[in-house]
Structures are given as structure tokens and as C-alpha cells.
């Protein structure tokens, strides 16, 4: 693999204001949704972003897309700083970064036909000289997404398709712009188990044939096991562990990753195992715990965890984790 860096994120922060200072209060709280994220993505690489709801993985995706404005830090795409762009520049970049959303029942406009939905990106970006040329591209994208023959789908409406077919339409709508980076936000969590694999396999196939980089956001590591090259585990806005699939699954370092992996059910009753069940829920991202953000729930917390906020430390060439245990 050539070390062709497609995406580089440096010290990215996204804070949301919670409760504007108004007439009666001048206190401002910040939700630390994404905090000091560093990330590099190589051309053609698939990275899985794992974490529970509220860990900031979806906010990170929206910030990378430019749908949320970064509070601090920089995002480089193809070597170019895209953190702050004007509308025109942003539009040009959007063409190359596309997104697949979680809920295919919600992410398609019910009043548009499949053709209108998939053609819309082309119309918006003025791609294709005329309708016939655009129609060709739409057909191609639909067939590449497994909706064959495309003609039979063009005039249908989303409600006439099944969940899996709808998600294929969403994928076709992203592909039609020939993006370099695809951000998939839990693309299969709303689908039935028997359909999930075919959508994942489709994404894997397209990723290989087009050498697209993929950021795959999920709370279920099992789904992307064979698909992702690397995994990043997020907790309260931070990446707490990042490494190759094998690193994170077989040589898990961070206590949070260990707990998260232990509670993912394994479909074999003979492998019922001891689960590390963390008590309570993820703390409020407004009042962050001192020191390590995980220490109040950490089964291995030490005294210094309350004071020192650990940064990502090298475990191996490909593997990093943010835990003070590693320094010992």
C-alpha cells in the first residue's frame, strides 16, 4: 500500500454550547463532544470507529463532513486544509467525501423517486451534460449497488422498497459522485440480520474495486470484523485505543475496550464468558471527570488516574492506547 494519506485530523475539537448565556444567567457550559482527536487515514483504508452513544463518533463524522463547524484543530483532505471553507469550496470538497446514514427509512425523501434521489447529487454539482448522460450514471450506480436491472427501480418510491434496497439506494446516491472517502454511520444497525451481511459485503466490494477509504462508525465491532483494517475505540470524545483489527481484538490494552469487547454477545452458547459489565452509564460530557475520563468506571483505576489525563501511548508500531497502566 502506498502511504498516500487521504485524511489527516489534527487535534480536532468540537464543543457544543449548552445553555446560551441569557438575561438571567451568564454561565456557559460546553459539551465536549469531540476532544483532541488525531487521526490519519490512508487511501483505500477502512477504519472502524467504535463506541457507545454519546462517545462523539457521530459528531466526529459530521465535523469531518463539514456539516458541523470544528471548534479547534485541523482537517486535511488530500493534503489540503478543509477545516474552514467558504460555501463554494465546501461544495467542491463534498463531492469527494460522501456519507451513508444509519436509517434508510429516514434518509430518503419519501416524495422523490429513486431516479430523482440518485440523480440529485449530479444535478447539484452540475455533473453530466444532459439528462441522458446523467441517467446513464444513475443506472450504473444503481447496478453497482446491486439494484439490477436499474430501469425497474428508477420510477419507484422509497416506500416501495425494503430496508436493504433502500440502503442500496443511499449507497448508490453516494457512489454516483465517485467519492474518495465514504463515511458510513451505522449503515446496518436498522436492518435485519440476514440483510446486514449483504450491505457490508457490498460496501467491502465497492471499497476494493474503487479504492475508496471508509470510516465505518458502529457500536457493533463484530459486523466489521473482516472488513476493517483498523479500529479506533472512542470514549467521551476521545480515542482511547487505536490499532489494527488484530491489535485491538487480540491484544486489547485499554480497560474500556476490554469491557466493550467482553459484552458483545458471541453467537455460541459454548463460549459464554465472563463479561466485564461496567456499572452506571457514560458520564455527562459537560462535567468531565478529572484525570482519565474513564477512571470513575474503570475496574483497574489507580490513584494517579484521578489526576493524570493519559494520552495515546505506543503499544506497538501499529497500536496505541491511552491508559496509565501502559506507562508502568
Amino acid at each position: 500500500m502506498t502511504q498516500d494519506i487521504i485524511l489527516e485530523v489534527k487535534n480536532l475539537k468540537k464543543y457544543f454550547q449548552s445553555g446560551r448565556p441569557g438575561w438571567f444567567s451568564n454561565q456557559t457550559d460546553f459539551v465536549h463532544a469531540v476532544d483532541e482527536i488525531d487521526l490519519q487515514l490512508i487511501r483505500g483504508e477502512v477504519i472502524a470507529l467504535v463506541g457507545e452513544s454519546g462517545c462523539g463518533k457521530s459528531t466526529l463524522a459530521l465535523t469531518l463532513m463539514g456539516l458541523e463547524k470544528a471548534t479547534e484543530g485541523q482537517i486535511f483532505f488530500n493534503g489540503r486544509d478543509i477545516t474552514n471553507l467558504n460555501d463554494k469550496e465546501r461544495k467542491a470538497v463534498r463531492q469527494k467525501i460522501q456519507m451513508v446514514f444509519q436509517d434508510p427509512y429516514e434518509s430518503l425523501n419519501p416524495t422523490q423517486t429513486i431516479e430523482e434521489i440518485v440523480m440529485e447529487p449530479l444535478v447539484v454539482h452540475g455533473i453530466g451534460a444532459n439528462h441522458a448522460e446523467r441517467r446513464n450514471r444513475v443506472n450504473q450506480a444503481l447496478e453497482d449497488s446491486g439494484l439490477k436491472p436499474a430501469e425497474t427501480y428508477l420510477k419507484r418510491f422509497p416506500h416501495q422498497l425494503s430496508g436493504g434496497q433502500r440502503q442500496r439506494v443511499v449507497i448508490a446516491g453516494a457512489l454516483v459522485l465517485e467519492p474518495l472517502l465514504l463515511i458510513a454511520d451505522e449503515p446496518v444497525s436498522m436492518l435485519d440480520v440476514s440483510i446486514r451481511a449483504e450491505i457490508i459485503n457490498l460496501l467491502a466490494e465497492l471499497q476494493k474495486s474503487r479504492n475508496i477509504s471508509v470510516i465505518f462508525i458502529t457500536h457493533d465491532l463484530g459486523t466489521v470484523g473482516f472488513f476493517a483494517n483498523r479500529v479506533a475505540v472512542m470514549y467521551l470524545g476521545r480515542i482511547v485505543e487505536i490499532g489494527s483489527m488484530a491489535d485491538v481484538l487480540k491484544n486489547t490494552q485499554h480497560p474500556y475496550s476490554q469491557a466493550l469487547l467482553s459484552v458483545i454477545p458471541v453467537p455460541n452458547p459454548r463460549l459464554r464468558k465472563k463479561r466485564i459489565i461496567l456499572q452506571g452509564e457514560t458520564p455527562n460530557p459537560i462535567d468531565l471527570p478529572s484525570g482519565c475520563r474513564f477512571h470513575p468506571r474503570c475496574p483497574m483505576a489507580m490513584d494517579e488516574c484521578k489526576e493524570i489525563d493519559p494520552r495515546l501511548m505506543k503499544v506497538s508500531q501499529t497500536h496505541q492506547a491511552a491508559c496509565l497502566l501502559l506507562a508502568k
Binding site: S107, G225, I277
Partner: protein, 645 residues
């Protein structure tokens, strides 16, 4: 990808417009309204042809013609000037409709634009536009209209503008709230993600979805404009050169029709106003019902007493539960249909299973496989359209299918209780959690001593791991995991023997899911509960359950103990489902999907319901539905392969 070909029956694409018309033509109220409106529009358009008399000229009118009662020549009688009231009635419809439609057009254009712009852009723009709207809203419309019209020349154009410019406030408010709702939907985010600008998003994504509500609102605004015009004319502020219903009323009223007993001179224009406004109102209601359908038959209702209409082969009985625990619940050959006027959908067909004390059975299947219908039938909480058409559910010596609604109410909660999916929706947001648990106790055990209710609630909360000081909190103050715990506490309120957990962890994060599963397992051991666990997650089943019933398309695919299901499955569906399920212990495993889609209940395949997707399908499968086959030791499989081997 040969899969899709199966799906491609060239269905006639039905556009939303066609769908709309299909539903609307069945809506009697809307149809009557539309008819009434068409009648009056026809009258207005063809007034010169339809009106029997000239209303402008007074030629040929004699003294004796004043206030003549209805007769063969003058159907509605004559007025104070001896003119034909019926002709006036017909011509009057023109002014009403012209003013109504044009004024409403102005109102809708202004209100719609304000509403969409304010809703879409938000922030300062919204603040300014909506405060401006509020300002207009507090101005008393009619007096202002009267003043303005009195100050300007009272001609039709001025009237249209004044009514139109003052009547847009409600539209702006309604459209704004609809825009806010549409704006937050994911397809708008998707449009932004592909790079669409605001104008494009408004035109292609907001407007089409705001349109229905705008149309319904327009109908209302038209009828209000017509009423305003009539009021103005009645007050003598109408266009003096145009005959309108309001003006006719004004003349009749002011020129002694009452004292002359000429009721017809007042009745005809009054009738016209009522007819148009009523027609518009009915049409508006009709449109609202069609465009904003709330399916009323969807609520949970006690299902009708069943009737045994079919004879079904009795399935082989599986062996006794582990450790020979006593049988608690025996579901035999249950079939459930959903019936509406035209169709019968066989949602569940001939399903049997047994639940022993302390046993945890998993009911697994994809959405639409009938698993939720099955458990709702056990508690007789099917939607109104559902009926148990066959089978028995034996619980503590009684056949639940045969019980009356009152007898069933005694079994619910104290015998069998339910943990519903979606804890936020199942809890009442305006009452404290403690109150709701109390209610569950009182409702099912009315004799419960009221002084010990609080203690019991605290005891229940403690059982599910909620601290007592959260008793008086409202559901929104709870986190997702706590709400699910509260639901469990509620289900345990009356010490049931059987708990049905219907996808209790579906919307929860894995860590919270693990907490809830651990809690359920603990409670089962502590209280000796038997649990029916409904889920689509094979991983959860493997972790939790003793026995598993795999359902597909409303029938049993396979039923066995958990180890057999995972390590020696016999039904091709179970085998394929396991291949599709990710396994973290083998991350390199390539997932395979099952081609095709689960069958729709109104279009079931004639033979085995899995046949169209089955890798091992042979001819018999497409013709004949396989019987339940006992392959020994209570391992039930419904597959023709079993008989061949």
C-alpha cells in the same frame, strides 16, 4: 446479486399522487365537500347561462313584483326591487369565490414563505419573522379590515388585498412548525451532505413535504376569506357594483324583508354562504384525514374470543425441560390471523412451544416473522384486527384462549406480564415512575393495602437496581437503561410467574444491554421466573437462553435447546442465519447474507415459506408446506429434508 431478480415483478409504480387519490376517493366526507364545491363553482362559471333572469336591468319590473314569494317563475322569490333572488344567488357565488380564492392565494403565499423561511433558517431571521407574525396576530382582523375598506375605495380588488394581507398569520405559524419538523429529518442532512444549497433543499425537500399541510390550510383560509367578504358586504362595505351574497343580505335586512315576511330574500344568500363554507370545511377535513392518517385500529386491544376454524395436525411434543422442572406454559398449535375487510393475513401459523419453571426461551426471527404477534396473543393483547384462529395456550390449568376478557385480566400481570420494547414510549411522561408502578399494582391487585404500597415500590426499584430516591422522578429524568429497569420493575409488580420480554434491549448500547441482560438473568434465578425473550439478536440468545424457537414467516423453523440450535442446527434458515451473524470470536469470518427478503404476510409462498431463499430447495418445497418434524429429543424442525434423511 441474482437475488434482486426474484423481487422484480414489474409492479405498477404508484406515485404519491395516485395513492392520494385512491385514499381520497374512499373518504366520504371529503368527497361530499368536493362535490358541494364543484356545484357552486359550476354555478359561478356558467352564471350568465344558468341565471333565469337579468339582475342588472330593472326593465319589465312592476310594483307588484316586490317581495313575491317563491313561485314557478321566480324559484327563490323576488327582492325589494322586484328582482329575481335565484339569479342574484347564482351571480353572488362569483364574488364569493373570486374573493375567497384570490385573497387566500395572497395569504398562503405570504404565510407559506414566512413559515418556510423562518423555520428553515432559524435564529435571527426566525425571531424577526415570527415576532412580526405575532404582531399581526394580535391585531383584531375584522375591525381593521372594516376600517381599511371604509377608508379606501370599496372595490373588489381592494377587498381582496385587504383580506389577503391580513389573513396569513395562522398559515405562517403552521407552516413554520411543519418546516421545523421536516428540517430535522435525515434526508435533509443527506441533501446537505451531497452539497445541495439552501434554495435546492427548500424547493426539493422542504416544500414537497410542507405542501399537504399547506393545502389543507389553504382550504380553511378560503372559507375564512369568503366569510370576511360576506361580513363586509353585509355591513355595506362591499363593492356596490357587484352582486354578492353579503350585499343581498344587507339589502334584504335594510329594506324591510323581515317586516314584509320575505324570508326567502334572507334565506337564499345565507344558504349560499353556508353551502360554500360547509363544502370547504368538509373538503378540508377529508384532505386532512387522507394526508395525515392516524391508523386508529393500531392500538392494543383485547383480541376477540377465538374460534376453532381449522383443523391442524398436532405437532409432536418436545421432551420435558431441564431437570424435569414443572411445565408452566404450554402453547399448542397456535395460529393468528390479521383480518381486515378484504384480506386475511396469516401472521402466525401452527406454532407450539413449552415453557418450564425457571426456563428462559428465546423467540428469534427477523422483523415480520410473527414473534411479537405470538407473544401478544399469549397475553391476548393483539391489535383489534388480530384474532387467534386456532390453538390453545395452557397456563396454570386454564386455556387462556378460551377465557373471557375479565378472566384474562386476572391472569395478566399477576400470572404473565410483559416488558415492552421502547421504554420511553411505554412510560407515561407526565407521571413519576413510582406512581406508574403503584398504578400497575393497584390495577391488578385492587385489594393491595395502600399503606404498604410505597414500601413495595421501593422494594421493586431496589430489585432492579434503582435507588429509592429516584422513585419520584419523571421518566425523562431517567437514562435509557434506567427506564428499561423501571419497565422491568413494573412487570414484576404483581409477582408474575412468566415474564415476556419483547426486545427489551434493542435500542440500548451494548454496555447497557449487558447490564439489563445480567439483571434479567439475576431476577430469573432469584425469583424463579420463566422468561420468554423475544429478540432478533442471535448473540443475546446464545448468551442467555435455555431453549430457542426460531420463527420464519409466521411458522416454526426450528425449536430446540440452545446448544443444538447453535451447534447442530438442522433447518437451512437457522444455518444461514448463523452464517450471517457476526462472531467476534472469529473476526476473519466472511459474513454471508441470505439472498432475498422475508415473505410478506399477504403474499406467502404456497409451499415452505423459506423456499424462495433456501439454498437446499427442491421441488416439493415449492408445493407443500413442511410439517413439524421431531428429529428426536424434542428437536423440532419444519423442513422436507428431514423426511428424506
Amino acid at each position: 446479486m441474482a437475488v434482486q431478480e426474484l423481487e422484480l415483478k414489474p409492479s405498477i409504480p404508484s406515485s404519491p399522487l395516485q395513492n392520494f387519490w385512491q385514499t381520497f376517493s374512499k373518504n366520504r366526507m371529503g368527497f361530499v365537500g368536493l362535490f358541494m364545491l364543484i356545484v357552486i363553482i359550476t354555478l359561478a362559471i356558467f352564471a350568465p347561462v344558468l341565471a333565469p333572469h337579468d339582475i342588472k336591468s330593472s326593465a319589465g319590473i312592476e310594483i307588484g313584483d316586490i317581495y313575491n314569494p317563491p313561485n314557478a317563475i321566480h324559484w327563490f322569490g323576488t327582492d325589494d326591487a322586484g328582482k329575481d333572488v335565484f339569479s342574484g344567488f347564482i351571480y353572488g357565488s362569483r364574488v364569493s369565490l373570486i374573493v375567497g380564492f384570490f385573497a387566500a392565494f395572497i395569504s398562503i403565499a405570504i404565510g407559506g414563505t414566512f413559515g418556510i423561511v423562518a423555520g428553515f433558517y432559524g435564529g435571527r431571521v426566525e425571531n424577526f419573522l415570527m415576532r412580526f407574525t405575532d404582531l399581526f396576530l394580535v391585531i383584531p382582523d375584522l375591525p381593521l379590515i372594516v376600517v381599511i375598506v371604509a377608508l379606501t375605495k370599496p372595490n373588489l380588488l381592494n377587498i381582496i388585498f385587504v383580506i389577503g394581507l391580513l389573513g396569513w398569520t395562522t398559515t405562517a405559524r403552521i407552516v413554520r412548525s411543519q418546516t421545523l419538523a421536516v428540517k430535522s429529518r435525515k434526508f435533509v442532512l443527506r441533501a446537505k451532505a451531497i452539497g445541495a444549497g439552501n434554495r435546492h433543499i427548500i424547493m426539493h425537500h422542504i416544500l414537497p413535504l410542507v405542501m399537504p399541510i399547506l393545502v389543507v390550510n389553504a382550504i380553511l383560509v378560503i372559507s375564512l376569506a369568503i366569510l370576511s367578504e360576506s361580513t363586509l358586504s353585509f355591513l355595506g362595505l362591499g363593492d356596490p357594483t357587484a352582486v354578492s351574497w353579503g350585499q343581498m343580505l344587507n339589502f334584504a335586512f335594510g329594506r324591510g324583508a323581515m317586516s314584509a315576511g320575505a324570508w326567502w330574500a334572507l334565506f337564499a344568500p345565507g344558504f349560499g354562504i353556508v353551502w360554500v363554507v360547509l363544502g370547504l370545511t368538509l373538503l378540508g377535513h377529508g384532505l386532512e384525514q387522507v394526508l395525515n392518517p392516524r391508523i386508529e385500529s393500531h392500538h392494543l386491544m383485547p383480541s376477540r374470543p377465538s374460534f376453532q376454524s381449522e383443523t391442524v395436525e398436532i405437532s409432536p411434543k418436545p421432551a420435558k425441560g431441564k431437570n424435569n422442572a414443572p411445565l408452566l406454559l404450554d402453547v399448542q398449535n397456535i395460529s393468528i390471523n390479521y383480518v381486515n375487510d378484504e384480506n386475511i393475513a396469516k401472521a402466525v401459523h401452527n406454532v407450539s412451544f413449552q415453557l418450564h419453571e425457571g426456563e428462559l426461551i428465546g423467540l428469534v426471527g427477523e422483523s415480520g416473522c410473527g414473534k411479537t404477534t405470538l407473544v401478544m396473543a399469549i397475553t391476548r393483547l393483539l391489535p383489534a384486527a388480530g384474532e387467534i384462529s386456532n390453538g390453545h395456550v395452557y397456563f396454570s390449568g386454564k386455556d387462556l384462549v378460551m377465557l373471557t376478557e375479565n378472566e384474562m385480566a386476572d391472569v395478566r400481570w399477576s400470572g404473565i406480564s410483559v416488558i415492552f420494547q421502547g421504554a420511553m414510549n411505554a412510560l407515561n411522561p407526565v407521571r413519576t415512575v413510582g406512581d406508574q408502578i403503584k398504578e400497575a399494582i393497584i390495577k391488578h391487585i385492587p385489594t393491595y393495602p395502600s399503606e404498604s404500597l410505597d414500601t413495595r415500590v421501593i422494594e421493586l426499584l431496589d430489585l432492579v437496581g434503582i435507588a429509592a430516591d429516584h422513585k419520584d422522578n419523571f421518566p425523562h429524568q431517567y437514562s435509557g437503561g434506567m427506564r428499561q429497569r423501571a419497565m422491568i420493575a413494573m412487570a414484576l409488580a404483581c409477582n408474575p410467574q412468566v415474564v415476556i420480554a419483547d426486545e427489551p434491549t434493542t435500542a440500548l448500547d451494548v454496555m447497557i444491554q449487558a447490564q439489563i441482560l445480567e439483571l434479567l438473568d439475576e431476577l430469573r434465578k432469584k425469583l424463579g421466573l420463566a422468561v420468554i425473550f423475544v429478540t432478533h439478536d442471535l448473540g443475546v440468545v446464545a448468551e442467555m437462553c435455555d431453549s430457542v424457537l426460531v420463527m420464519y414467516g409466521g411458522v416454526t423453523a426450528e425449536y430446540a435447546d440452545v446448544d443444538t440450535i447453535y451447534n447442530a442446527p438442522l433447518h437451512p434458515y437457522t444455518q444461514e442465519l448463523l452464517k450471517a451473524f457476526p462472531d467476534l470470536s472469529k473476526p476473519e469470518k466472511k459474513l454471508t447474507s441470505i439472498p432475498g427478503y422475508p415473505p410478506k404476510l399477504d403474499a406467502l409462498p404456497p409451499g415452505c415459506r423459506f423456499a424462495p431463499r433456501c439454498p437446499a430447495v427442491f421441488e416439493r418445497c415449492t408445493i407443500e408446506q413442511p410439517a413439524l418434524h421431531d428429529s428426536g429429543d424434542g428437536h423440532i424442525v419444519s423442513c422436507h429434508l428431514m423426511e428424506n434423511s
